[in-house]
């Protein structure tokens, strides 16, 4: 199994401990990814919803994109590409449960980045996707 870069994982772990009493919000995760993205790259200049949208829809030279299961409209209900099981919307505006739990955010980015890209996602990529999802349905 591939492992995430140590820093983002440690940051998520620390975050989930310190903030475990209260439910996290998508904005909390954005801040967390920002901190990690600055550590990844000194020249980090902020997230981009446009870049996130392109990332979300790209198959990255492989079989699946994020949209394969979540559809190209993340405010809509998706379907698992293999099992066909319905997937509740990913955009926070359409589904208030999204990006409210550190353990789930960590688990699904880990699994799905591996399935789509064959590697872990960088904090930059996760942040781009998050701000794209946060920009939808408003």
């Amino acid at each position: 199994m591939r492992r995430s870069p140590i820093f983002p994982l440690a940051a998520v772990a620390a975050f989930s401990i310190t903030a475990s009493a209260a439910a996290e919000t998508p904005a909390d995760f954005q801040r967390l990814f920002e901190t990690a993205a600055r550590q990844e790259r000194a020249g980090f200049a902020g997230f981009s919803a446009q870049r996130g949208a392109a990332f979300f829809k790209s198959t990255h030279g492989r079989e699946w994109s994020c949209a394969s299961c979540h559809t190209i409209n993340p405010t809509a209900t998706g379907r698992h590409a293999k099992t066909d099981k319905p997937i509740t919307p990913l955009a926070p505006a359409a589904n208030a449960e999204r990006f409210t739990r550190a353990d789930k955010v960590e688990k699904w980015f880990r699994r799905n980045c591996n399935d789509v890209l064959g590697r872990t996602c960088t904090a930059s990529e996760k942040g781009d996707v998050l701000v794209y999802l946060m920009s939808l349905g408003k």
Binding site: T83, K85, D115
Partner: protein, 153 residues
């Protein structure tokens, strides 16, 4: 009806030898909440009675490559689920799975579904034999009884 008779024969053959049979009416108890949440997020939480313990152990040891997707779990959650699967695993010889560990490839599954015509399996609404709910309308609740079967059109 056929299944009732089949179950009767099954009971006669197996009670007193193993003492364990599959639920004759094809109803299975609800899984514990962790199993339902974790196994049930991409597919239904399949009844643990449908594979033997050694198959579940092998499956849980390879979650990062789970039938073509990464279904990896944190070690604590994985241990909880493995224990539940082992405790409730099936014991019939016909459940022995192929090396791929698919319930749908066990002799038991193939036999139970031998009346299903090929066009049903090919239907885009079924998509895969792993998609129990396509026909077993109440499978989410462990109910695989013939009464609840609805073949999609």
């Amino acid at each position: 009806m056929k299944h009732v008779i089949r179950f009767g024969i099954l009971v006669l053959l197996t009670v007193g030898t193993t003492g364990v049979v599959l639920a004759g009416d094809h109803r299975y108890p609800a899984p514990n909440p962790t199993v339902k949440a974790e196994c049930g997020s991409c597919h239904i939480a399949y009844p643990p009675q449908l594979l033997p313990a050694h198959s579940w152990r092998a499956l849980m040891a390879g979650l990062d490559k789970h039938f073509g997707t990464d279904a990896s779990l944190d070690p604590q959650t994985a241990a909880t689920i493995t224990a539940f699967l082992e405790q409730n695993a099936g014991r019939k010889r016909s459940l022995s799975a192929s090396s791929e560990l698919r319930i749908s490839e066990t002799r038991w599954f193939v036999h139970e579904h031998d009346e299903v015509p090929a066009y049903v399996w090919k239907s885009p609404k079924v998509k895969s034999p792993s998609n129990c709910t396509a026909c077993h309308s109440n499978a989410e609740h462990g109910d695989f009884s013939e009464r609840s079967v609805r073949i999609p059109r």
